[in-house]
């Protein structure tokens, strides 16, 4: 069977195609892969089914997140070359195969098959799916890249909101005991996500070579905002610039601070306020999820108006101030605690959603998806650093005889320092030096074909 319908050339839209028909394709993919944040629903049933520890089951999630970072970094250039449809479809096959192989592992009692399926293969689907719509959306919305990527990456936050209640419903619908319902629930989700992501893949379109939105004129060297480039930088050149590593530090610091709270949200609020029980804490977790999703769209869209560097100064600077308030006065009232953490988590989501537009400003649109993929290694590193800081500090404080909010005070002050480091890194970001720029005629040819040409730097070499 010919798979040529997946080729980039077959996805080129007509000139009068409405660009607002493209975001749902991106959302379909991100809402599907966002399920990974609802994996905790399956944790206890899997522990019971395999009669093993929480750590052994938690490794499934960890493998998938590590594979997300690795595959986004390694396969970013491939995603740029083959175009969004083939990439999205590949992500759909990997992600749904992860569920199907995982179901086989549960049915046969082989935990390694769940590691291989949901963790390894599913994780590859996560990485490809996460970056696949980014550069396409930026090309459709050159005038509002923050809004475009915010809309898509909001889906990753929203995916867990859908998957969590859906998975709970499936587990209770298929069997009396949740552990007996894992296999049919995995199969159902695998098929559901294959259909949804495939719909996204088949409806996605790329703009024609010289298409522009009505009334839009590309910024020139003279009128471009100070941080916006009119040139393009390849992924291989980008990682040799200080700007890439400063932005890597910015993302790492912002995610480390946010993920530390997200991971501990339920026990944290119960430790801060002794009259809060598990059910009320679940309400707090739900509120943070909504703040995470809303922040992705609202703050990223706002960055189109005020600029990428200023908004990261807000995420990191105001974020540091809020962490300080939380550490010094967090126990003074539940309203203060909830509002402060809600804004912090909205900044966490906003940081994720704004970063592709920041990359586009600095490195141009030529290989922004591939550069974004490499930058996501900061996410994988922060996913280890954030929870480690909070958990280790809490353990050491508990060993020292402290309890309640005192378990977290030191780690919150550490997060203030982490955010200050990120703030300084953001301040140091300057436009990329011209020697890293691609020659314009080669860049436009490569952007049109999706195939790398002999680059300026390669010719020099």
């Amino acid at each position: 069977m010919s798979l040529s319908f997946l080729d980039r050339e077959r996805t080129v839209a007509s000139r009068n195609y409405n660009r607002w028909l493209v975001p749902p394709a991106a959302l379909a993919v991100h809402l599907s892969i966002g399920e990974v944040y609802a994996f905790s629903v399956f944790k206890n049933p899997l522990v019971t089914e395999f009669d093993t520890s929480l750590t052994a089951i938690g490794a499934i999630f960890s493998i998938s997140i590590v594979m997300l970072g690795l595959s986004a970094a390694v396969l970013g250039t491939w995603v740029e070359r083959v175009g969004p449809r083939k990439a999205m479809f590949t992500a759909a096959v990997c992600w749904s195969s992860g569920f199907l192989i995982g179901a086989l592992g549960v049915a046969t009692g082989m935990l390694w098959l769940v590691y291989l399926g949901y963790g390894f293969i599913g994780g590859i689907g996560l990485g490809i799916g996460y970056i696949s719509p980014v550069s396409t959306l930026i090309k459709w919305f050159p005038d509002r890249p923050g809004l475009a990527t915010g809309l898509a990456i909001m889906g990753f936050g929203g995916g867990a909101l859908i998957a969590s209640p859906l998975s709970e419903s499936l587990l209770s619908a298929y069997a009396a005991k949740p552990e007996d319902a894992i296999v049919p629930a995995f199969l159902t989700l695998g098929v559901l996500y294959l259909i949804t992501m495939s719909l996204g893949a088949f409806t996605v379109r790329v703009p024609a070579e010289d298409w522009k939105p009505d009334g839009y004129t590309a910024p020139t060297d003279e009128d471009a905002k100070s941080m916006q480039t009119t040139a393009d930088v390849t992924a291989n050149s980008a990682i040799r610039t200080p700007q890439f590593w400063l932005l890597w530090t910015v993302l790492f610091c912002n995610v480390t601070a946010g993920i530390g709270i997200l991971e501990q949200a339920s026990p944290m609020i119960q430790d801060f306020f002794s009259d809060i029980d598990a059910k009320e804490a679940a309400g707090f977790v739900g509120l943070l999820s909504l703040a995470n999703m809303a922040g992705r769209f609202i703050w990223s869209s706002t960055s189109d108006v005020i600029g990428r560097k200023p908004i990261y100064m807000g995420y990191l600077g105001i974020g540091a101030a809020l962490y300080f308030i939380l550490a010094s006065a967090g126990t003074s009232g539940i309203a203060l605690f909830v509002v402060t953490t809600g804004v912090i988590i909205s900044f966490y989501g906003g940081g994720f959603a704004t970063v592709p537009a920041y990359l586009k400003d600095l490195f141009g649109g030529l290989e922004v998806g591939a550069i974004h993929g490499r930058l996501l290694t900061a996410w994988a590193a922060a996913g280890i650093a954030g929870p480690t800081i909070v958990n280790r500090v809490a353990d050491s404080q508990e060993a020292a005889g402290k309890e309640g909010a005192d378990l977290y005070t030191l780690s919150l002050y550490i997060m203030v320092g982490v955010l200050v480091v990120g703030f300084v890194a953001n301040l140091l970001i300057r436009p990329v030096a011209e020697r890293h720029h691609e020659r314009k005629e080669e860049a436009s040819r490569q952007e049109a074909t999706g195939k790398p040409q002999l680059t300026h730097s390669a010719q020099e070499a």
Binding site: Y17, G159, I162, T196, A282, G283
Partner: protein, 46 residues
């Protein structure tokens, strides 16, 4: 150019599925937001 004809066809055939996909993702998001929002009142004693 031959690709122009293909582009026009591609555009027309994509509109209806894309609109349906908008409806699907909007319904999905609404479901997720409502399901999550129902848990929040518990935080304030509801």
């Amino acid at each position: 150019m031959s690709t122009n004809g293909r582009q026009e066809d591609t555009g027309r055939s994509a509109v209806v599925p894309a609109i349906l996909l908008w409806v699907l993702v909007a319904c999905g998001l609404l479901y997720g937001v409502i399901q999550t929002a129902t848990k929040i009142p518990a935080l304030f004693g509801g």
